[in-house]
């Protein structure tokens, strides 16, 4: 007689315990396996969320735990939504989000389209292009501050070379008009490769035989691009937009390192603003309300978007 590991385990189980285990239904066993994950999820996700919502109706300050906590109803929400500073922050965030996504999708797709052509060394190029993505955002933020230096910065030098302007005449980080673009450029430099990789996966998923069929059906390259390539890559593109959108809504480290939210508040994104309210001004109740508003916004937008994405995939 041979013993498999299961036989051995069965033999090693004390009879009393074995009897008890045998009495369990499949459903019970399923619950036993899932329970730890559910517990963790409740502990680190659901409970803090509910607690945050609770705090958002109070004037609680975490640095003054002995103060009386008052219920303030919807006053926190009202103050946030009528505060001009908040709206300026939202605008800065929207500017950052929209432009990073537009640029990264356009450039990322174009790069993927070029890399996907069969030429020698395209694997090497892919590796080179993907490099920025592997760096730490803090490092990227730090060295872009050098690139943006008016006197010695490479960025200013290159712009000056092409436009003929004086490289010392403008400061990407110091200028209120330019700073929002400075963070867009740095983020685009860092994350376009990511969009490119997703687009590349999309392009590679289109079998060559479909282009051959289109070729026989006398579709021009232009028509093939618009009626085959774009519709078939679209789900991938939309996924890239979703990833980048969520990531950049949470953007913190790169921008803090690069501009610190300035000059003024021109590059203070909501995540930076929220961190200041919560952990510099210690307005816990107020910032909880702020967080809830952001959560609802992101969650709402993301669900609408995911619905659209599924519709595109079903087509």
């Amino acid at each position: 007689m041979t013993f498999t590991p299961i036989d051995k385990a069965a033999r090693a189980t004390p009879p009393a315990m074995a009897r008890r285990i045998r009495g369990l239904s499949d459903r019970t066993i399923a619950w036993i396996f899932v329970a730890p994950s559910i517990f963790l999820l409740l502990a680190v996700n659901i409970f803090p969320l509910i607690w945050t919502i609770r705090l958002s109706f109070t004037n609680f300050r975490v640095n003054r735990p002995n103060n009386d906590v008052e219920w303030v109803g919807l006053r926190n929400y009202q103050r946030i939504l009528t505060d001009e500073g908040t709206w300026a922050t939202m605008q800065a965030t929207a500017h950052f989000l929209i432009w990073t996504i537009v640029l990264q999708v356009l450039i990322g797709f174009a790069l993927a389209f070029l890399i996907n052509k069969k030429f020698r060394g395209n694997d090497l190029w892919t590796t080179i292009i993907v490099f920025p993505m592997m760096l730490s955002p803090a490092v990227v933020g730090n060295f872009w501050t050098f690139l943006y230096q008016p006197q010695i910065g490479l960025f200013n030098y290159v712009v000056a070379f092409f436009t003929g302007a004086d490289p010392a005449s403008f400061s990407m980080i110091g200028d209120v008009m330019l700073a929002p673009w400075a963070i867009v450029i740095a983020d685009t430099w860092m994350w376009t490769p990511f969009v490119m990789l997703i687009c590349l996966a999309g392009l590679r998923s289109i079998p060559n035989s479909i282009y051959e069929a289109a070729e026989c059906d006398r579709a021009s390259k232009w028509r093939q691009f618009w009626t085959i390539t774009i519709p078939m890559v679209l789900p991938f593109l939309m996924l890239a937009v979703l990833f980048r959108g969520i990531e950049n809504f949470k953007m913190f480290d790169l921008v803090v390192q690069l501009t610190g939210g300035g000059p003024g508040n021109t590059t203070t994104l909501t995540s930076i603003d929220l961190k200041r309210e919560a952990f510099e001004k210690w307005r816990t109740g107020y910032s909880s309300a702020y967080a809830v508003i952001l959560f609802v916004t992101v969650f709402g937008l993301a669900s609408i978007y995911v619905k659209a994405l599924n519709k595109v995939k079903e087509r």
């Binding site: 079998p207 035989s209 479909i210 051959e212 069929a213 289109a214 070729e215 026989c216 059906d217 006398r218 579709a219 021009s220 028509r223 009626t227 085959i228 519709p231 078939m232 087509r315």
Partner: protein, 331 residues
């Protein structure tokens, strides 16, 4: 509506010689069937004519024009792919409309709708027109793929095993339809199949490929009655030709190594004794599996024969084919 001419065409994929010096003239308006076992180079031939692959050697011309350097679109060919190649993100209707919506053609919408409806009718897929191309059975996909070629009026149709995944009845229906479409439009059609009945009933000419070489090209009847080799002889005929050692019967020419006997070349009732091993009744005919001195022979006899396994039948060759040691026919 064009003659297709291949001269000394060769094509290699790495070390594989897919086509080796193929010369063939497909006359205008003919229906040419390419036969050959898997890997013989049939698909490669069609792809070279379509312009999807370029030959390493030789010339291809369509309608007396050298097509080297012309794109598939410029060659005006319609191709039915072996693996269907439908546009997966489009509906069946959009798949069928696709070739007609080419800006070169400027087909009016009403005309497109009419044409698509007509082709869908012929292919019996009208009820699936609004399905997504991926929500179809294999046979339905194959018919959409045929439809995509039929909506057009190209110089040459290229069809790569277009009926292979259809059931027997549909296959019989479409055989007739395709043949009549081709005959009525006068289009030139190259057709790849493994099915003998398709080859015999539809073809005006048959080309036999063997490991990239065109070993015989002629009318189906010519090929059947005058095969150039054992290989060519084995392509057509149901049941297959019996290939036996030439010495089994007397009277073989000196050089002959093998004798080839189709059922109608086996005369029953006289000659050598053979043992009936199996009797297959197919309805319209009955097949006899015989054993002649340990050599199996399959032949046909009348449908209502009384023969049973264990009986003895006398057989004798009648105008047989003789082949030499290399398999070439001895005239």
């Amino acid at each position: 509506m064009a003659e297709v001419k291949l001269e000394q065409v060769g094509k290699s994929f790495g070390a594989t010689r897919a086509l080796d010096s193929v010369t063939m003239t497909v006359p205008d308006g003919s229906f040419v069937v390419l036969l050959g076992p898997t890997g013989a180079g049939k698909t490669t031939t069609l792809r070279l004519i379509a312009g999807l692959d370029l030959p390493d050697a030789g010339r291809i011309s369509i309608a007396a024009q050298d097509v080297a350097g012309l794109s598939p679109a410029q060659r005006d060919v319609a191709m039915v792919f072996q693996q269907y190649s439908l546009y997966p993100h489009l509906s069946v209707r959009q798949n069928l409309e696709f070739p007609l919506k080419s800006p070169i053609l400027r087909t009016p919408p009403a005309e497109i709708a009419r044409k698509v409806g007509e082709v869908a009718e012929i292919l019996q897929i009208t009820h699936k027109l609004d399905n997504k191309a991926t929500a179809l059975s294999g046979g339905e996909m194959q018919r959409v793929s045929i439809g995509r070629a039929l909506v057009r009026n190209p110089a040459v149709y290229l069809m790569d095993e277009p009926l292979s995944s259809l059931d027997a009845k549909l296959r019989a229906d479409l055989r007739v339809e395709l043949k009549s479409i081709q005959a009525n439009s006068g289009a030139t059609l190259l057709y790849v199949t493994h099915d003998q009945i398709e080859a015999m009933t539809m073809a005006t000419h048959v080309g036999v490929l063997d490991q990239g070489r065109l070993v015989q090209f002629g009318t189906p009847r010519d090929l059947y009655e005058n095969p150039v080799s054992v290989y060519a002889a084995s392509r057509l005929g149901q049941p297959r030709i019996n290939i036996l050692p030439a010495a089994l019967f007397g009277g073989a020419p000196d050089r002959a190594a093998q004798i080839g006997l189709r059922p109608e070349q086996i005369r029953q009732g006289e000659g050598e004794n053979s043992l009936v091993e199996r009797v297959e009744r197919l309805g319209d005919q009955t097949r006899l599996h015989l054993n002649l001195r340990d050599h199996p022979i399959v032949t046909v006899t009348n449908a209502h024969t009384d023969l049973r396994p264990g009986d003895i039948v006398k057989i004798r060759p009648q105008n047989p084919f003789y082949f030499d040691a290399t398999g070439a026919r001895i005239p």
